[in-house]
């Protein structure tokens, strides 16, 4: 059976959920061979094996942590060389992130392949994998194939279910010779983002967002209270972020995160095209806005025209009551 390289996104050995979703998609095409890089790489093996990785190639060289992007391209290329020499490599799949898109692009260029980014689905096709993408702020859906080389595809979070599919997951050290350019861009320091205890925005099943209508950093508490009652992540529009009410890491939209949860609740957000670009593929959309003409209502499965300062706390209370 053909093999599929899967790039592993992990933090010190803890595999992030989108990688497990990619394993689900990879198994449609072939046998997943995972590539885990950097500190803690070997610790990812058990989780990856549980979700279908037949092999886990690891490298924990310091370069991978100390320099931007290129060392990872070198390592992924080494994995590509090893696996493609051994037989039939059907594709290289990566969970979409800022880093992984750049890694994927440079790899594709080196191996003479085409690249597709931000797929929301990948299926086996007659001429190789077929990727579905959502484009133009999710107003169109396209189906594309890579016509040259081994397809390199990055997949958006929440594009597939996580499935248990136990496999061997044998750990193998991946030898990597770093290129001259690997040490070109030094990471002088790294400040890890503080955990809020809430789910990761891109991975969450429910996202509760606030916009300009929230009218102040101090009022984001009512958005957070609703989110916590639902076990949700908190999002924000760019207007709220630019005003300094909420961190940029929580921005949803074209220049923020793209989310695709089961439920998206937009509070005091008008629904500008750039915001829609980041949330339009959500399964169920709910909006609270005092302006009945707000474009967000065009997307909403359920909308409440009203003052969010009344509606949101009442909703939070009601959920509390129902949960008993």
């Amino acid at each position: 059976m053909a093999e599929v390289l899967v790039y592993v996104d992990h933090v010190d050995g803890a595999v992030r959920k989108p990688t497990l979703e990619v394993l689900t998609l990879a198994r449609r095409i072939g046998e997943p061979v995972a590539v885990a890089l950097g500190a803690g790489a070997a610790a990812t093996a058990a989780t990856l094996a549980e979700h279908g990785a037949v092999k886990v190639l690891t490298n924990e060289a310091a370069e991978l942590a100390d320099y931007l992007v290129v060392p990872k391209v070198d390592a992924l290329q080494a994995a590509y060389d090893t696996v493609s020499a051994g037989g039939s490599l059907a594709a290289v799949l990566l969970p979409t992130s800022a880093d992984s898109k750049e890694i994927a692009a440079r790899l594709a260029l080196r191996i003479g392949s085409g690249i597709i980014t931000d797929a929301i689905d990948v299926e086996a096709g007659a001429d190789g994998p077929v990727a579905t993408q959502s484009v133009f702020a999710a107003s169109f859906t396209t189906r594309s194939v890579v016509s040259k080389g081994t397809p390199v595809i990055t997949v958006k979070p929440n594009s597939a279910p996580v499935e248990a599919a136990p496999a061997a997951g044998a750990v193998e050290e991946l030898p990597v010779t770093f290129s001259a350019l690997a040490t070109g861009t030094r990471i002088v320091s790294r400040t890890p983002r503080q955990s809020t205890g809430r789910p990761e925005l891109t991975e969450a099943a429910i996202v509760v967002s606030g916009g300009r209508g929230v009218n102040g950093a101090e009022n984001f508490g009512i958005i957070e209270a609703l989110a916590d009652e639902l076990g949700a992540a908190v999002g924000a529009s760019r207007a709220a972020v630019d005003a300094g009410w909420y961190p940029h890491t929580n921005q949803v939209g074209q220049t923020g995160k793209s989310v695709s949860p089961q439920l998206y609740i937009a509070n005091g957000i008008s629904g500008a095209i750039q915001h829609r670009a980041g949330m339009q593929t959500s399964k169920t959309i709910v909006a609270v806005n005092k302006d009945p003409e707000a474009p967000i209502f065009e997307l909403a499965d359920y909308g409440v025209v009203g003052d969010l300062f009344q509606v949101v706390p009442q909703l939070t209370e009601e959920i509390k009551t129902r949960k008993g």
Partner: protein, 261 residues
Amino acid sequence: MSLRIVVTVKYVPDATGDRHFADDLTVDRDDVDGLLSELDEYAVEQALQIAENADDAEVTVLTVGPEDAKDALRKALSMGADKAIHVEDDDLHGTDAIGTSLVLAKAIEKAGYDVVISGMASTDGTMGIVPALVAERLGVPQVTLLSEIAIEDGKVTGRRDGDAASEQLEASLPAVVSVTDQSGEARYPSFKGIMAAKKKPVESWDLSDLDIEAEEVGLEGAFTKVEAANERPARTAGTIVKDEGEGGKQLAEFLAGQKFI
């Protein structure tokens, strides 16, 4: 010695217009008004600030695109860039990111550069990979997705706000940089700037000027193929209620019905 800054800017269909695909499944650039990609305005802005802080610097804006893409160059020139290069060739129609990076890299080499500054992503393709590809082709450091940037003593430094951490980066020139929309408001062209732009030089290059064969670019040269593009069905009209004091409770009822609570 003068610091040579090349800013890559893309001409894109207006995101607030009715964007769609042409019959050959390329982005329709005829029926929708185009403009300088808003995210590239941030790249122009940072280039201008770096030039203003340098003893001697020259900002060249570069675009690969159809005839109308001159509008994007004009806008960048009126913001304050010194000169412009337009790579235009009928054979470029349908070029993908890999092909675009080839054309950009060859043009950047021909123009001469110390630093290339790009936007974080184009507002139509939104791939955000061209700067990394250009760096790979030029064989120089990539210092991308910066929300803060400084150039001093032949070094570029900046802050990259990633998913898991915020990183402080450093590389020596020459380098390829990209900046995010967090890097600082882009200036509006002044009346004087708009007038001055009319006299600034715009060079036109075609593929032969760059020693690129037609087969290497365009639809034929593309490494990916769009097989189908379908308009997403409009979301079915939802239930909209007006809050008469029970809006929160009604919403809870809906969420319960959908099994969210």
